[in-house]
């Protein structure tokens, strides 16, 4: 079950407000030509370790296959290097990406 409630990690409780501040600062540095929005949640991964799950909606142009590797690499690096989820928060980061059109069709609230 993944939610944004209090999550216990080996280094203590995650301060959700501080984490949100950190993540939001990182999101602001992403290019609006590539990224439409970023959602995230905290929970446990499949091996029960504390994790942060980023769900990133890309513009349709940035989602084209010939650009996807570069764009996802850049977005992942920016979020990883700014938030430092492993060192600062004890959270393993995971990154999932959808295009704007795909998200509009599915209207999945977890990605909104």
């Amino acid at each position: 079950m993944r939610d944004n409630g209090l999550v216990y990690v080996p280094t203590g409780f995650v301060n959700q407000a501080q984490l949100a501040q950190n993540v939001n600062a990182a999101i602001r540095s992403l290019s609006p030509q590539e990224v439409v929005r970023v959602a995230y949640s905290i929970g446990n991964d499949s091996t029960d370790d504390p994790a942060i799950f980023f769900r990133i909606v890309l513009t349709d142009a940035a989602s084209r296959e010939d650009r996807l590797a570069d764009v996802t690499g850049r977005v992942t690096s920016t979020l990883f290097n700014s938030v430092r989820p492993i060192e600062n928060w004890g959270l393993t980061p995971y990154f999932s990406f959808r295009s704007f059109s795909e998200q509009r069709m599915r209207n999945d609230p977890e990605w909104s």
Binding site: A51, E65, L68, T72, S96, S99
Partner: protein, 160 residues
């Protein structure tokens, strides 16, 4: 063609099979094949170091997904694995490779077991491209000492 290369090719074929209307089966199996391509690449590379040909098959069976993920997570954590004195370029590449392995194993788990959330073409393409990237990185660092140490460590459950 080696088995891990066949699996990566299968991941590419499946995700491209019907781009205008991809099936959930193709998208999910592509992610699964992408992960297993990486899993078998590591086993293949580790077994190359075992000189006794007859024992290689037995050695290959010793690899455990959970242990490999734990070890790879540790490699991505600079506080646990500082790699002091090592070439920072190689260290960065090994950390990237290990991070891609962790990501792909998790996504494989989601693709195979979480039926509630539908996969999209972009999600699956991204995982296939991640596996492809990991193959490229591995070719660049496979002979480095820290990469060889990483291969050995994949067989050993790390201490908490």
């Amino acid at each position: 063609m080696a088995y891990h290369d066949e699996l990566l090719q299968q991941a590419k074929d499946l995700v491209h099979r019907n781009p205008n209307n991809p099936t959930q089966a193709d998208l999910r199996r592509s992610v699964s094949s992408a992960y297993y391509a990486l899993f078998h690449l590591l086993i293949f590379e580790a077994c190359l170091n075992w000189s006794n040909d007859i024992s290689r098959r037995g050695l290959a069976r010793m690899f455990d997904h959970g242990v490999m993920k734990k070890v790879s997570k540790k490699v991505t954590d600079a506080s646990k694995m500082p790699y002091a004195g090592e070439d920072p370029v190689v260290v960065d590449k090994l950390r990237s490779f290990a991070g891609l392995f962790v990501q792909l194993q998790e996504q494989r788990h989601e693709a195979d077991y979480n039926i509630k959330d539908a996969w999209t073409l972009t999600q699956s393409l991204k995982e296939m491209l991640a596996a492809n990237r990991a193959f490229v990185i591995w070719q660049e660092i496979r002979t480095e000492k820290i990469s060889q140490d990483y291969l050995v460590s994949l067989l050993i459950r790390p201490r908490e």
